[in-house]
């Protein structure tokens, strides 16, 4: 099954962090990642954050690249489970 992985939301309120800049991918297309494993790093103004894989699977498609600005809810990649 193919699963689209969004950037998880931190809260709907207007004062919540809304996204950041993709700093680095930890997994290449075609490689597999375990549930909870590091997927990519994202910078907010305050710090670097590691986004982890919500399920185990093979990364079939990256939808964002290093340097891209992303918002919560944006699809980061597609995993095949």
């Amino acid at each position: 099954m193919r699963i689209e992985v969004p950037l998880p939301s931190l809260g709907e309120e207007e004062d919540a962090v809304r996204g950041g800049t993709i700093a680095l991918w930890h997994v290449e297309e075609g490689a597999t990642v375990q549930e909870g494993g590091d997927l990519l790093e994202l910078n907010t103004d305050k710090a670097a954050f590691v986004v982890s894989a919500p399920v185990s699977g093979r990364l079939v498609e990256k939808r964002v690249s290093e340097g891209d600005e992303v918002s919560v809810g944006d699809i980061l990649c597609v995993l095949e489970t």
Binding site: L10, D15, T21, D45, K46, F49, P54, S65, G67, D68
Partner: protein, 315 residues
């Protein structure tokens, strides 16, 4: 789209919030329309703390009447008080099953008592509903108003905190002009006069341009004003509009300052890049001095009704 990517030191790295426990805390708090400093201040520990089912509740609304150059909380004209907030706070603490909680607030210069009575009612509501839960209350300076400080103390939170935030030399640049370094020290002194046994705590952000001499002088000032416990953490810039980070101190530097704080005479000190005044705040209460204080003033831990008299719960 490829702007140069900002590079943080390797140790300024956290997990992006996700997972079931985080989602549960998020749903519960937004259902009760409660604000947290975790969210409003864009705290980097958000994922870890909510994942451990702890959060720092920010009462009196999410708009602050003051404007400090490092803080992400919105400033402006605060809204009307939510009179149901004490009950909602107690409900959140009960439903999260918290053994320890931190209550803080925005500054409310628009309210005659600065919101002290409302904060006191929040503490009392928690104590009534969850008598075993220990509480740290982190307050603003109330413009030095002794009666306001007494009102908060009388509610019986085990730990009373007021953050000095930064060293004396940087205070005018970092804080709203209505705060003053000496005024903040005096808040701690006043709390000590009113509540001789209370655990008093303060916190300091590092990386704003202070020197070691500045830090040591500040720690000594806190001790001279009867502060028991201190936490030191890395300042992180919430948006490019806020005060810049002058330096990122490596974790070893924080450990060194933690030792310095103990050597100077603090009963409890904790320092680290991600240490915040509310981060793992419950560990303070496990310190031997804190246990001794709480058993010396058991009424503090069991305060259940509002105390009309100053320091009625002490001694």
């Amino acid at each position: 789209m490829s702007a140069p990517v900002k590079v943080f030191p390797a140790w300024i790295r956290r997990a992006w919030p996700s997972g079931a426990a985080f989602a549960e805390v998020k749903a519960l708090l937004s259902g009760l329309e409660l604000h947290t400093v975790c969210q409003s201040a864009h705290c980097p520990n958000h994922s870890e703390c909510w994942g451990r089912r702890t959060a720092t509740l920010m009462v009196l609304g999410n708009v602050c009447s003051r404007h400090c150059t490092y803080c992400a909380v919105h400033s402006g004209k605060p809204e009307a008080l939510d009179q149901a907030e004490p009950d909602k706070v107690a409900e959140a603490v009960a439903r999260l099953g918290l053994k320890h909680t931190v209550i803080t607030s925005v500054t409310r210069d628009d309210l005659p008592d600065g919101g002290a009575d409302h904060i006191g009612r929040c503490i009392e509501a928690i104590k009534e509903r969850c008598p075993e839960t220990t509480i740290e209350v982190l307050v603003q300076d109330f413009n030095g108003d002794r009666a306001a400080i007494a009102r908060v103390l009388a509610a019986g939170a085990e730990v009373f905190s007021h953050n000095i935030e930064t060293v004396e030399r940087l205070h005018p640049r970092m804080r709203d002009r209505r705060f003053s370094y000496r005024g903040s020290l005096q808040v701690l002194k006043t709390a000590r006069e009113l509540a001789p046994e209370r655990i008093l705590k303060s916190a300091l952000m590092l990386g704003c341009g202070e020197t070691e001499a500045d830090i040591v002088a500040c720690l000594k000032d806190l001790l001279e004003h009867d502060c028991d416990a201190v936490s030191l953490g890395q300042y992180l810039q919430p948006t490019p509009k806020h005060h810049e980070v002058v330096s990122f101190l490596p974790p070893e530097e924080f450990q060194r300052y933690e030792r310095i704080a103990y050597d100077l005479g603090f009963n409890f000190a904790v320092a680290g890049p991600f240490v915040r005044s509310s981060y793992r705040s419950e560990e303070l209460l496990d310190a031997p001095f804190a246990r001794a204080r709480l058993s010396a003033a058991p009424s503090v831990a069991r305060a259940s009704s509002p105390a009309p008299q100053e320091s009625a719960h002490e001694n």
